[in-house]
Symmetry: C2
Subunit: 198 residues, 2 copies
């Protein structure tokens, strides 16, 4: 249907997450239509990001330097680690402004069906940090779905014997939500984990 470079562009765009064939075509035609310098900014942003962004050698978040901004910051609290699956989860937690400790990015979660075991994740690096950084609390902040829960349970078993406090993000009703629209599992969990009102 298309000539070479146009089809190539559509194909490459279509490989991105959440971009279907129609969106890929729409974006490709948009890129072809806009002035060349505008389109080249995207191309160059990809090149530059791949050249300059690496993984933080301590927490495995994305970073421009050997250590990321959070790991190298003197104003963050030592001793508490928030363990997340992906870099985007660091962003989500940071936005709450409720956490002043450090992070550890697992770069995924346990998923036996897709062949992802502890060796594919940054688990040994996490264990190494407990002693090395005198960690007193690890907050397991993996996703509240099957894989995330399994990963949290696995890590809790590994961390228990190390004498560190292990906590898990609370499950419950979303703030601002309606009881009526909550799914049974969430409402059940909220009931099970009910707290005394002071």
């Amino acid at each position: 249907m298309y000539e070479g470079p146009v089809q190539d562009l559509i194909d490459e765009l279509g490989r991105m997450p959440g971009i279907g064939p129609k969106s890929a075509q729409r974006i490709a035609f948009h890129l072809l239509k806009i002035p060349t310098p505008d389109a080249m900014r995207l191309s160059e942003a990809i090149t530059r990001a791949k050249e300059r962004v690496q993984f933080c050698q301590r927490c495995f978040n994305f970073s421009e330097h050997e250590l990321c901004l959070i790991c190298s910051s003197a104003s963050r609290q030592d001793g508490t680690l928030c363990v997340v699956e992906e870099s985007r989860d660091v962003v989500a937690v940071e936005k709450t402004q409720e956490f002043r400790g450090r992070y550890h990015v697992l770069q995924g979660c346990l998923n036996p069906i897709e062949g992802i075991g502890p060796e594919q994740l940054r688990v040994s690096e996490l264990l190494g940090r407990i002693d090395g950084e005198q960690i007193t609390e690890v907050i397991l902040s993996t996703n509240p779905n099957i894989e995330g829960e399994a990963t949290a349970m696995y890590l809790a078993r590994l961390l228990g014997p190390l004498g560190v406090m292990v906590t898990r993000l609370a499950s419950g009703l979303p703030v601002g939500g309606d009881l009526e629209y909550a799914d049974e599992l969430t409402l059940g969990r909220a009931l099970e984990h009910r707290r005394a009102v002071e």
Copy 2:
């Protein structure tokens, strides 16, 4: 929140049509995570498309050469022009396999609010082709929405005195919709039932 190159990448992705901030972040993190050669293929596809793809000098569709594949094809029927707004509409009409003539891409539609008049479109080039290529029928295939209808009516008035048959895609397309999103059967039927413009 992000360091320079990551934020730049998210910003540039967010400028693409249909990509919101969340999708931009998701795609950026995907690009950072995959192997560099895979990410570079997208960057290079953009560069190559911008370098090698231009507008066909006759129909103003995207083309790798001075004339596009359809304009330079000997197996297409001469004498009938299908006038569309954008290159993506050429793709949509081609998919119906109901049209064997040639195309003319206006590169937009009349939109006084956005300051797009006939001078911003390839209207004079269209008029030039009527005589030059002995066109006998012009099928106005602009979108069946307000701007597309206005553009069709405007062109019909210009083309009428030139002694060429002017037709419009049959109604049957959902009014207010986009040609791009019509299913092939509906678009094919609309093409088959095109009617003379009075």
